[in-house]
Symmetry: C2
Subunit: 222 residues, 2 copies
Amino acid sequence: MAFNRPDPAESPLRTTRTELKRKRERGSHDRSVVEEILDEGLVAHVGVVADGGPIVTPMAYARIDGDLFLHGAAGNRTLRALAEGSALCLTVTLLDGLVLARSAIHHSMNYRCVVLYGRGHRVEDEAEKRRALAAVVDHVVPGRSAVARPPTSSELRATLVVRVPIVEASAKVRGGGPVDDDADLELPVWAGVIPVEVVADAPVGDSVLEAETTAPVSRLRG
Amino acid sequence: MAFNRPDPAESPLRTTRTELKRKRERGSHDRSVVEEILDEGLVAHVGVVADGGPIVTPMAYARIDGDLFLHGAAGNRTLRALAEGSALCLTVTLLDGLVLARSAIHHSMNYRCVVLYGRGHRVEDEAEKRRALAAVVDHVVPGRSAVARPPTSSELRATLVVRVPIVEASAKVRGGGPVDDDADLELPVWAGVIPVEVVADAPVGDSVLEAETTAPVSRLRG
């Protein structure tokens, strides 16, 4: 089972396509910045081209070293296109805050975002499939794959798993407060940031739950 | 200023492309369901095709009647492509919960998602541009556009505004608890949903803030 982790020295993530054209000071091709954003996110928006037009689909995912893994039912069209090696663009966006300036035009959002270009590879090996699916479950609730019933061979056959090597990607980060024009600073308008966060509420057990089992804890702040 | 609201009777949002191929019971082409999801979301992931490959970019947006509005700096490549009428796919995803089943394979997420296909139109009219930008600001903090300094004519000229008519779209919604196989129901594994929500934390005023101004309230739960 080879996960082909790219050598960071050989794969600096930066290409003409991931070179930031605008607001370069917000950009990074640092692998650790990219990985941190991917690890914090829960949903990727995956774009492929079908019949000449774009399709953008939200998907769960997980990272193992230098690869991202996607999965779904074997009949899923987008996933089949990915498994066949269609060019993809995968974007993960974390919203951190609403930025309120004194002027309408300088309103903004604080965010951390990764845009990854590449092509997927269908995972055929059963052990690698198992490892990828466990990573997707553990990405949401750490340790969960050790508790839940593992996939059967027939469940694995019905599931398409796609590996996407992280070799061409950029991160973009906007942080801090509003940037108002000097002439606006004395306007009697509140300016600042409303921080935004994804939180977990109290777990809701299903109706046939055995009383002695305990709710697990997600990665999110409760 | 014409916003060309499509007649729902003539534009039922459903086309061969937005016909759901999988999990049809989760889908809807009801305009009110689509609009409610678009109005709750803060970030759209917008896909276009460039040089034969997909590009997926996170963008703020707002809806006015039957149109979505996007905006950005006049130099932004994706936005320029949208303004020129490139085919687009715009996806808004709201994550509602982490669904933990007794088996790894039945883990899932509760979400509400809109996938919209179409083409954008560059907004040239200054009054329509002003109305669109006000809607984007008010989408985040209701009433904010009446408080902030409005855009100047030169700020408007430097801003590209794109109108996307909502005529071809579908919503997909997953709710409720895990769906475990009957044979797994007696496993001593917690199963249920961890609800997830985007919340606003306490506002942080910027350092040169006039003391008498009061922080506004976003649409998010505080």
